[in-house]
């Protein structure tokens, strides 16, 4: 027993020696890295435990999570976020209930009306204006809604770009290329400040929706390109087969092309939504109090002036965790799809 244990330990160290201390160069690099990491982690640890003042985080937790949502109604966004989280967990490692699995997409889509209902209120819940939305709730809301709205727009753009009608093709190409050439912040700026100038007098769009609209305009151009890639990789024979079954143009697009293109583009699409999630932080520059914006607001409270390291570290962790959850979900989906086409 002990002997095999010792043997395997020796083997383990031999393996380490093999990969890490291969030669002088590698050894030096390895030692340097270990030194650097330990110095950095000692400092970080010291700071985390002794120097940092986490009051700025702890006493404002509801603000980070829900913005200025009325305290006695905060269970509503909380319910929404928790249901999203549970759904993620279920998607990742839930049991194999065939019916539920097959309709997972619909369940996911169902979180949107649920979110809207819980946040806006009405129908028994007291109505709450979008100005009260903030923090992580607003960040997630921006991400989810913009992703979902930009998907159909992206599909239409991709189809137009592939179309044989030269005008549609040109217009969507120009749209996609220009959108991809300009910085996101310029588009968001357009959404916040210039959209009102393009609307008829008296018509107003809420600024949260304006942000969503701007994100949608921007992201759909990227999504269109991903889907176009998917469309291009569908072999022509699929269209021939569909043709010979007598399906018409629109049926082919609906039943053959789009489902396959989406499936192929799925990894790229999830990357887009992870990017979108991070980029919602740009709204802080334009005055929305989403996660980063709320952080900056809290730093203006005289009680907490100058504690930005704590706030930034905390925010980085939150963003990182959510992104990681999204990335894991994406990888999981991708794997499922390659192993077995039966699901999703």
């Amino acid at each position: 027993m002990l002997k095999t244990y010792i043997n395997s330990t020796i083997f383990f160290f031999k393996q380490i020696r093999k990969t890490i201390f291969l030669n002088l160069f590698n050894t030096i690099i390895t030692l340097l890295i270990i030194l650097l990491i330990s110095v950095a982690s000692i400092h970080a640890f010291k700071w985390l435990i002794f120097k940092a003042n986490w009051k700025v985080v702890i006493s404002n937790l509801p603000l980070y999570a829900f913005g200025s949502f009325p305290p006695d109604e905060q269970w509503r966004p909380a319910t929404w976020i928790i249901s999203l989280l549970l759904l993620s967990i279920f998607t990742l490692c839930g049991p194999e209930w065939r019916w539920l699995r097959k309709n997972l997409l619909i369940v996911w889509l169902g979180t949107i009306p649920l979110g809207l209902y819980l946040l806006y209120g009405g129908l028994g819940l007291s109505p709450i204006m979008s100005r009260h939305w903030g923090g992580l709730t607003l960040t997630i809301l921006l991400t989810v809604f913009s992703s979902l709205l930009s998907l159909p727009l992206g599909i239409v753009l991709a189809l137009c770009r592939q179309s044989s009608l030269p005008l549609t093709q040109k217009v969507s190409s120009i749209y996609i290329d220009v959108m991809r050439a300009i910085p996101l912040i310029a588009v968001l700026f357009f959404g916040q400040l210039l959209i009102p100038l393009f609307l008829p007098l008296g018509m107003e769009i809420d600024r949260v929706w304006r942000a969503i609209f701007a994100f949608t305009l921007f992201v759909s151009a990227y999504i269109a390109e991903d889907i176009r890639g998917g469309l291009q990789s569908i072999p022509n024979t699929q269209i021939e087969a569909a043709n010979s079954l007598g399906l018409n143009q629109y049926q082919i697009i609906q039943f053959i092309l789009i489902p396959q293109a989406l499936r192929i583009a799925l990894p790229a699409l999830t990357n887009q939504s992870i990017g979108l999630f991070q980029n919602t932080s740009l709204m802080a520059i334009l005055g929305l109090v989403e996660l980063l914006g709320i952080g900056r607001s809290i730093l203006a409270n005289p009680e907490f002036i100058g504690q930005y390291i704590e706030v930034y570290v905390w925010l980085a962790c939150v963003y990182w965790i959510v992104c990681t959850i999204m990335a894991v979900l994406a990888r999981h989906l991708e794997k499922r799809m390659t192993i077995n086409q039966a699901n999703f």
Binding site: E240, L245, N248, F255
Partner: protein, 248 residues
């Protein structure tokens, strides 16, 4: 006899000068099986694909099931033809994102507007005819080549076609799998299905076909009953081709 397919003087070039079809005329009567043979590039695929409008042609005329199509390629007529003519491809071309049953019911539901239950019942019946009803819920990727090709045949049959077109249905299959598919086709022929089959399977042609059409460089070299074609082909070119096939 009632002719199902009548083609007159079909001519087509992909690239200028080179004719993929050169003045091809043929007739297939109801319930008959026509086998098309010929060396690679002789225009077999092009010919068979003009019959359901997958290829246009430059000159000539086709009359399929009483619907006349000429070189203007009228979309609406072609759509009508496609609803009554089934086609099976060399590469199966199943839809990978749909289950086997969904592959088969897609056209009945969306083209013929049948009810889903009805379409599925008939789909299951076709699958059991092909001996693959146990795979109905699977996806194409999970099936072997022979099984996939039988699904493709079932899919073509789902619209209750009056004519079936086959473009080298067995050439992408492993040798062991070829017979599964040929047997299924044999059964169809026995049931009186009108079929045009591009194939190099001599055994199948001998047993099943009523006529063998031999093509070379886009031209019809000869059309003979199989017993004559295989024992005593009229043309030098055909004999040369048959010799090569035997060598394999």
């Amino acid at each position: 006899m009632e002719p199902i397919v009548v083609a007159k003087n079909l001519t087509k070039s992909y690239t200028k000068g080179l004719r993929a079809l050169d003045n091809v005329s043929l007739t297939v009567d109801k319930g008959k099986v026509l086998v098309v043979m010929g060396p690679s590039g002789s225009g077999k695929s092009t010919l068979i694909r003009t019959f359901n409008g997958l290829e246009t042609f430059d000159k000539g005329e086709i009359n399929i099931l009483g619907i006349k199509v000429d070189s203007t390629h009228d979309e609406r007529k072609i759509q009508k033809i496609r609803r009554r003519v089934g086609m099976v491809f060399q590469q199966f071309n199943l839809f990978p994102h749909l289950s086997i049953l969904e592959n088969i019911t897609l056209a009945p539901i969306h083209v013929q507007k049948r009810r889903q239950i009805e379409a599925e019942e008939y789909g299951m019946y076709l699958l059991s005819q092909m001996g693959i009803d146990s795979h109905a819920k699977k996806y194409p990727i999970q099936l072997s080549g022979g099984e996939q090709q039988r699904v493709a045949i079932a899919r073509a049959l789902a619209l209750k076609p009056e004519l079936l077109l086959f473009d080298e249905p067995t050439s992408a299959l492993d040798p062991e799998r070829i017979n599964e598919v040929l047997d299924a086709m044999r059964t169809l022929a026995e049931q009186g299905m009108t079929m045009i089959v591009v194939t190099h399977e001599i055994g199948f042609a001998k047993d099943v076909s009523d006529q063998v059409l031999f093509m070379d460089s886009g031209k019809v070299v000869e059309t003979s009953p199989p017993n004559i074609f295989f024992s005593n082909a009229r043309h030098e070119r055909s004999r040369k081709f048959l010799n090569q096939l035997d060598k394999h």
